[in-house]
């Protein structure tokens, strides 16, 4: 499937979905839309994802042939920005499906719905959870599967990336490992899953539990993508639901080097990561005992020397192996899991 990814004014640093699909997706990306960096290539903006020659263009009209337009950015609140409307319209008129993980459902937009019908294309809102969710039963520990959950000091600290790198490392080590997505990008990548942040709060823990139960027979190890942070003023309900719904034996704490305040909520400082790790394990322990397996540090903003020193310091403060999974993969954390 040939896709164009919309990431206006936010590619690559704040375009998590776009970067995830470029790095881990099976789709063939033929263009990225970003009016700020139009005229460059993906290689200029984000080298090392095997898409160096893919053009960054101003809008759908400048893109080569494609089958689907993917909304590759997820603004706080999940709204749809009016400035994206011409691109969605143009994509539909060129016969392409539109895939979106926004809270705002394109299928409920009258103009897009009518246009999609006229041109015979699909509007796929992957953020719609199943309708028959229930409360958690608390049964994950009864399953014959070992669960690793990535957690974070904030949003956008690399939880999805770390999870995918852990799965890759586990499979390379010959383990029967599965990925449990919980967010829209992960669901697009995995080809299915429940968007946990869109579930009714009473059923949030239960939706995570179901995601694990559905995959437990097929795999020996499940790596669950975390969301938000337990210290986030807005998203902690989602985070807590995943922590207790997944009942993980192991946690991996994701942090961005140098980030001191919650992104978009700058008056809320992030506690010391070691204290955040302790809060996660204390909170998990009250339902199902867990342990910190490793730390993942996002050092994208640092040069190699400072990055290495930051990773070392991070691991030392947490008392577990630490990596930047984008620089070096997740082998060092996985080794810890195998050793046990």
């Amino acid at each position: 499937m040939r896709v164009v990814i919309l990431a206006h004014e936010q590619f690559p640093d704040r375009a998590k979905t776009a970067v995830g699909v470029l790095r881990y997706g099976d789709q063939e990306v033929v263009a990225v839309l970003d009016r700020k960096t139009a005229g460059t290539t993906v290689g200029d903006q984000l080298p090392g994802v095997g898409a160096d020659d893919v053009p960054v263009v101003d809008g759908v009209d400048d893109a080569p042939e494609f089958d689907a337009l993917l909304i590759g950015i997820a603004p706080i609140g999940g709204g749809f920005e009016a400035s994206w409307r011409p691109d969605v319209r143009a994509a539909i008129e060129r016969g392409a499906d539109v895939v979106s993980g926004l809270h705002y459902f394109l299928g409920d937009d009258e103009e897009f719905a009518a246009l999609a019908e006229e041109y015979g294309v699909q509007l796929r809102d992957v953020r719609t959870p199943p309708e028959n969710l229930t409360v958690a039963e608390g049964i994950v520990r009864d399953l014959d599967v070992e669960v690793v959950l990535t957690v974070g000091t904030d949003c956008s600290t690399g939880k999805m990336t770390t999870t995918l790198e852990l799965v890759e490392a586990a499979r390379e080590a010959g383990m029967n490992a599965g990925f449990v997505p919980t967010g829209q990008t992960g669901i697009v990548l995995a080809g299915g899953g429940i968007p946990i942040d869109r579930t009714v709060s009473d059923f949030t823990n239960g939706a995570v539990e179901r995601s694990i139960c559905e995959r437990a027979e097929e795999y020996d190890y499940l790596f669950v993508e975390g969301q938000g942070s337990i210290v986030h003023p807005a998203y902690s309900a989602v985070t807590c639901g995943i922590l207790h719904g997944a009942q993980p034996e192991h946690l991996v704490l994701c942090h961005e080097a140098g980030r001191e305040a919650i992104h978009g909520y700058e008056s809320f400082s992030i506690p010391d990561p070691a204290a955040v790790a302790e809060l996660y394990t204390d909170l998990a322990d009250a339902v199902a005992p867990t342990e910190l397996l490793g730390g993942a540090l996002n050092t994208a903003d640092l040069d190699e020397g400072p990055a290495e020193r930051a990773i070392d310091a991070y691991g030392e403060s947490l008392g577990v192996p630490a990596v930047d999974p984008v620089r070096e993969g997740a082998d060092a954390i996985l080794a810890e899991l195998i050793d046990e």
Copy 2:
């Protein structure tokens, strides 16, 4: 408004909504439906709520005239039991509205919807949140209001009751105090509010924040009804969203004397209440610093002597004043708030 309360086979011990309305509601209760204790009175089952002579009857057909049937029980999961169907049908046929806080929406039930239209009555599902909820902004601490939140070691430990007793005690002390409901019973009692356990998880913290913002100008003190427990395998997402959305300066921990395991999840033991209190304050502190103001112990199953000893021991273990608000009101906790 004359109401009949449906509480089949669960009145009074597991009929939280029924008991709340009887104890704190403005409505005139004319009968309780409970086929297990039919033939008795409310006074036989639940003395001291000013409804001693209200009959407990087998079904709607045995009830005196009334304006609304209220579903007064909330089973785990919020489902509608088939055995309640004849009573709802009969109530509609007698021209009464039906008020429900269940997850199962009566308005979506084809039979009830058709019947309600035929008889010109309303089906009021109070568990429907507003459609325009958003993520939290983290602004409660910027408001000119002091927030007290009740939290629990489990569900059904007396959080709503404690909150209402605190409001009553505060008003008697001349304070300008408001009640912030978060669950269906509280909303029925308050005449409005957002059912937090029914909100989309990404907006759960935000829904609580909005509930507080809407009442902050009118009051100096807001007492927020908590839900679930941070150590509950199924409902902790809701609890965490309330804790961080409300940004309370003060917490009151509610516990049931002698309860050692999560109700309905008996393989999950409840940690020592003092440890649960510490987990609540640690988790709250990471977003907005808080302190434990008092403890509320539900001693309904104990005689007076053992109850007093249990309350004393509970307060001592928490290091704050403790009460059973049903036995003695919440004055002792309120005094602590005034002292500060």
